[in-house]
């Protein structure tokens, strides 16, 4: 399936071996060509073009620097939008439901594509989720994982971060979460992403991502111009709004990839008021836990079981 939108810069400037997750060299020209060929606005190519290279290959330290700085700016946005508090609200009923399933085992919440681990660190600092909850962040990027680890250590927060595939951890997730990750998976990759949930031992997942609307790209562009300093962050932040998946796309992918889960959506329903909502969440539990979704009915019309 052809994606009608091109990639974000951050999708192109790092590459990993799919089996070993070893970092691979990324030729700068390949990035520029792909951005040009996929019709991404020219300013994306300019932002990528500004990245340092050595012998035609993107300098890994420079790329990591841009990514860390961009994620720090992204954290600021998430703080302003109170993303972590929102995820915490959504997690609470799910933890209750899963607690009865794991029978005394710690409940492992794994954040996929955790970046600097803002959401997990916030949950560790302020979430009050219970002493039996283990928070684990997984990301392919070693530099981001190292930064998340340092930040957690600096505040003595009870969460860990690993550079790994979240679905192949030695201690698998009971609840999988993510923030701003889903739109990076396109077409068959999105279904494949949910197939990994189906095959895993996860009891539930909550994926929160940008909610598409006709005003979102303009608002996002203005906001990222105002808030972000890194050109990569300015572009990717705006472009992620353009690329945000519709609720129906998510529904189809989840139904196809993870049929063993009962799905609900929060803030996906179109309405005038929802124009002011930046995120939507896909909330799902294994079918036997379906009744636990009733806890979300307190969100009223914002919530719908599918």
């Amino acid at each position: 399936m052809t994606d009608r939108f091109g990639p974000e810069i951050s999708d192109l400037i790092v590459a990993y071996d799919p089996q070993t997750l070893a970092r691979q060299d990324v030729p700068k020209q390949r990035v520029l060509d792909e951005l040009r060929e996929t019709g991404v606005p020219a300013r994306a190519a300019r932002a990528a073009g500004a990245l340092r290279e050595r012998d035609g290959v993107l300098d890994r330290a420079a790329v990591d620097g841009v990514l860390v700085r961009s994620h720090l700016e992204l954290q600021r946005l998430h703080e302003e939008f109170r993303v972590a508090a929102h995820v915490c609200d959504l997690l609470a009923p799910m933890i209750e439901a899963v607690r009865s399933e794991v029978r005394g085992e710690p409940i492992r919440i794994v954040d996929i594509g955790c970046g600097l681990g803002f959401v997990l660190r916030w949950l560790a600092a302020r979430g009050n989720l219970g002493s039996d909850v283990k928070l684990i962040g997984a990301d392919y990027n070693v530099a981001l994982v190292a930064a998340a680890t340092r930040l957690a250590a600096a505040e003595q927060l009870a969460c860990t971060f690993v550079a790994a595939n979240a679905f192949t951890l030695s201690e698998p997730a009971h609840i999988v979460i993510s923030t701003g990750v889903l739109h990076h998976f396109r077409g068959p990759d999105l279904t494949a992403f949910f197939e990994q949930h189906e095959r895993s031992g996860a009891h539930a997942f909550i994926h929160t991502d940008i909610r598409p609307s006709f005003v979102a790209p303009l608002g996002s562009w203005i906001f990222h111009q105002a808030r972000m300093r890194e050109r990569l962050a300015q572009f990717d932040g705006y472009w992620s709004t353009v690329r945000a998946h519709s609720a129906s796309t998510l529904r189809s992918a989840i139904a196809a990839g993870a049929p063993g889960f009962a799905l609900a959506m929060l803030d996906a329903r179109p309405s005038l008021r929802s124009l002011m909502r930046i995120f939507q969440s896909a909330i799902a539990v294994r079918s036997p836990l379906r009744t636990s979704l009733t806890a979300y009915e307190r969100y009223g019309r914002r919530f719908e079981v599918l």
């Binding site: 700085r69 505040e155 203005i222």
Partner: protein
Amino acid sequence: MTVALLLAVLALFDCALAGFRAAAGRQGMIDKRAYFRGAIVSGLLGGVAIVACNAALTAVLVKTAHAPQATWSQLVDAGTTCIWFFGALATATLAAMALWFSPTAEVQLLATVIVLGPFTLIRPLVIAAGLAVAAVQTGEVRVGIIAAVAGVTMLGFEHVLGRRYASQWRQLV
């Protein structure tokens, strides 16, 4: 003198926010209260220095004018024009901040997305426009000089402050 004091208050408010903005998005801790307090205080202290420098320049230019009283009157007129521009932006900014205390999440978000984000973008334009209109209205060279220096110091201040925080990310890699 009231106009001068009002302008000083507006400048200090702007510098305090510049301190916050310069620090924002550059530190990854969860508890950033002390960090932001320090940033705002730095902004305020820098603002005091900026106001003092501009006040000193104004005093020198008024004292050395052929007709100090007339020059001062023109400066007051120019300052009044500036207050309309800067005061409007400051009032709207404060109103948006007040919306953070709303119990409704959408309203809080509205303040951030619709008001504070765009206002950060238009702030340089508002400052430049206010000073330019004030200078052009009076047509007095000394007013123009003071407006130009005030503009450069106010608009360059956040950039200068930002250099203090720019390399913080290196501690994470």
